[in-house]
Symmetry: C2
Subunit: 179 residues, 2 copies
């Protein structure tokens, strides 16, 4: 019989343990994300999959913020974050730090997520505004574009869902290495 | 150079084409989900990954509903849905229809999502309430529990994100078959 596990049975990390745990070499960059709900969700997902840092750019809201906390549920105190006035500034900073930059978008020469294989590099993932997506000028300075294959009627997935899927794909790959 | 694609360049299905497209043999069941935002997101994700049906149970809101539409963005008119008063009734219906039932939860004998391999059966995926998760009495009638491995400090992921990750894992597997 499968019995549901209580919080204390999950052996999750404490805030302090989280800070000293080796993270994935992955930075999530939010390019002018409007919804504080989406920002909070990014923190919660980044906590679950041991993401190194979240960079908030432009109009993207920053902690401390009540609305962000509603979905982050405390993950703003575990996941490292910083703010850049423009997403291009963040891109330049990350390039200098030797990260490979990938926009998550629909584009002419995108790599489908299921064939993405740059797992051994330091990577920065750019997620865009709810309506406009990642700006073309940001895509222009990226090393590539990752696209989540979709087969339905809608243009794209919700940004919180997209972040979850792409970060899971990377975390999933790290689990394979452990086996 | 990677150029962003416009909506009309994505060759997405029309509502009518969607209805006649072969779907994944997957039903998503929402067990007393409180947030209409999460319900809408489930529709939008189910549309993208060609899910057969969404079953809304108990207190879970149903279309037509303005709040659901905000995140569903029209996907309530593409994805088939139905309503059951209790999640156990839905489980009984699906068992009679020969679906294998899986709760997405943290449980004692769960299968980590990255090792899940029941892709060749008709499956029903049960996602639970934002606070209480899938009810134990529902888990008791399921054939198994799928758990999304997580390594951070938080108990679980947001339900919209969990739905995205699990449906992506299944869609991803169907893409492999095409190669």
């Amino acid at each position: 019989m499968n019995q549901k596990l209580k919080n204390e049975e999950l052996n999750r990390l404490s805030v302090d343990e989280f800070k000293h745990t080796v993270k994935q070499a992955v930075v999530v960059v939010l390019d002018n994300v409007r919804s504080l709900n989406n920002v909070g969700s990014a923190f919660r997902t980044a906590d679950a999959f041991l993401i190194e840092e979240i960079i908030l750019c432009g109009v993207t809201g920053t902690p401390p913020n009540k609305e962000i906390e509603k979905t982050a549920l405390g993950a703003t105190s575990t996941v490292k974050w910083s703010y850049f006035k423009t997403t291009l500034d963040a891109a330049e900073f990350l390039t200098q730090k030797k990260y490979k930059l990938f926009a998550v978008e629909q584009a002419t020469k995108s790599t489908p997520l299921n064939t993405f294989n740059s797992f051994d590099e330091k990577i920065a993932l750019f997620f865009g505004n709810e309506v406009y997506g990642v700006e073309q000028e940001v895509i222009n300075v990226c090393d590539g574009v990752i696209e989540i294959p979709q087969a339905g009627t809608k243009h794209s997935l919700n940004i919180s869902v997209s972040i979850g899927i792409v970060l899971w794909e990377i975390f999933r790959h790290s689990l394979k290495k452990e086996l």
